[in-house]
Symmetry: C2
Subunit: 130 residues, 2 copies
Amino acid sequence: MLIGELAERAGTSTRTLRYYEAHGLVCPRRSANGYRVYDEAELRVVREIRALLDVGFGLDDVRPFVACLRAGNTSGDVCPDSVQVLRRKLAEVDDYLDRLTAVRQRLHTQLSHAIAHREETCPRKRQSGP
Amino acid sequence: MLIGELAERAGTSTRTLRYYEAHGLVCPRRSANGYRVYDEAELRVVREIRALLDVGFGLDDVRPFVACLRAGNTSGDVCPDSVQVLRRKLAEVDDYLDRLTAVRQRLHTQLSHAIAHREETCPRKRQSGP
DNA sequence: CCTTGCCTTGACGCTGACGACAAGGTTTAG
DNA sequence: CTAAACCTTGTCGTCAGCGTCAAGGCAAGG
């Protein structure tokens, strides 16, 4: 399978695949003319990468999962390193959720206050100011 | 007040203040030698900007609040445009919270599954594989 | 006069995951 | 022969909010 086919089957671009390769996530063989040749297994790898990136992982976070798949596992998340990343990411997400919830609360309060204050400040369009 | 003093009092850097100016958020007078001169009111403006950026707003989102303060209001969020931005941002945050919650759920499930699968795959260090 | 410490503009660096384009080689079909 | 449709490497651009020099002007103290 050449890069174009893999890209289409994985729902991404050739640029992206070359980018992953440059960062050591995939390492295709080369045919005589220098073309990248991927085998079927790489499709699953690329899909794993994409899925994890979509969830907010960085390329570095993805590496253990790729290695896990390469090690012959049917799923990329069953290896210790992957589990560790999962734990860390879960904690990060929890943290972010907390902060975001706090921000939400703050915005909500601010909005209510602003509206109330507006009622008070500009009850009608007329103003009696100096 | 010169730029250095404002930066320190606002808890930020001179670079940041010049950046805000370049993006039309502050517009100080200039003294004879070309130095930026800010008055006290700008301190509140800069603090408002910082507070909103910390909450995840972009510079464009901040503009209405600055204008609102400049219009003489004691608070930057009482003007219609600010309220509109607040509403939009609140909606965005709610949206993000939803997605993040979904991701959290997914990570949680994946983690449980991975650990369970690991118990199953590697109960002891020995393996009887092919 | 010299140093110190402010200030000025200008321009590049950074982070991440690519998109877009350039300039060219290869293979196949007509 | 040539066009089409693949492929190659390399380089620059993107978004945001600054950090970090660089090179120089201005003011005050010793």
